[in-house]
Amino acid sequence: MSVVLDAFTVITVTAGLVFFLAGTVGLLRFPDALTRLHALTKADNLGLGLIVLGLLPQCPDITSALKLIAIWVLVQFAGASASQLIAQFVRRNEPGP
């Protein structure tokens, strides 16, 4: 059983890292600031989410598992707020439509 859980952890965390890589590739390749923000918030959120998911089976008790989930939720909220604030700043300085 623990082998299955460990394999789950390895696969999920690796998948999470792939999405962090995707976010970084997007940050470097995408043409403008607003598009890059998409890459950062969405890909990194999923990356962190998968890492948290992968670590859940390794938690010694239920409170540690809930703590990890709480971290993911708070980071998502922070990411959502920060990306909007940066987007508003960008738009004020480079008027779009």
Binding site: V25, D32, N45, Q76, Q88
Partner: protein, 178 residues
């Protein structure tokens, strides 16, 4: 419950506000958050009580409970959708980033929102910034929200309207036919 926000100005009123239905719900919530952080033990229980009380007091001042009760079923549905949406959004980005041709059709979409301005609309914007392909960049004319989209070929406005309808159900409002 609408008077709860006013009552917290005074100290005795603070206890009254925490004792209200909304206050008690939030108390349980922050008390639970405390135990998630620190683990369960008798001494942590004693410290957690005033901690949660202060958190609820601040929370009631910052977000006064509305006169409309939330639909918890719809809220749970939304929370369950969140990881799925996150997956779709992340895969969408990864596909575009890794594709050598980098398929992007970025542009702006003006979305006339039916949500009242304020925290409800802000929360909707926060949720939409986690959705695949959309990023709110600010308010437009009147009730418009301006979205930056990765792919303007998608029916973005229709998707946003569907999401908004779901969000309205959480607020206990049946979406009118717009």
């Amino acid at each position: 419950m609408g008077g709860g926000a006013m009552a917290v100005q005074t100290r005795s009123g603070a206890i009254g506000a925490i004792a209200s239905a909304a206050g008690l719900r939030r108390f349980v919530f922050y008390f639970g958050f405390w135990f998630i952080l620190i683990g369960v033990s008798p001494i942590n229980l004693i410290v957690g009580l005033p901690t949660a009380a202060v958190a609820v007091w601040v929370s009631l001042r910052l977000l006064p409970p509305g006169d409309r009760s939330l639909s918890y079923g719809a809220l749970a549905g939304l929370l369950l959708r969140l990881p799925w949406q996150s997956l779709v959004a992340g895969i969408d980005i990864a596909r575009r980033a890794f594709d050598p041709r980098m398929p992007l059709r970025t542009g702006f979409v003006v979305f006339p929102s039916r949500l009242p301005p304020g925290s409800a609309r802000d929360a909707f914007c926060a949720l939409m910034s986690l959705q695949p392909g959309t990023l709110p960049v600010g308010a437009g004319e009147k009730d418009d929200i301006l979205f930056h989209c990765l792919d303007t070929a998608q029916p973005v406005a229709a998707q946003l309207a569907a999401e908004e309808a779901r969000f309205l159900r959480i607020l206990g409002q049946e979406p009118r036919n717009a």
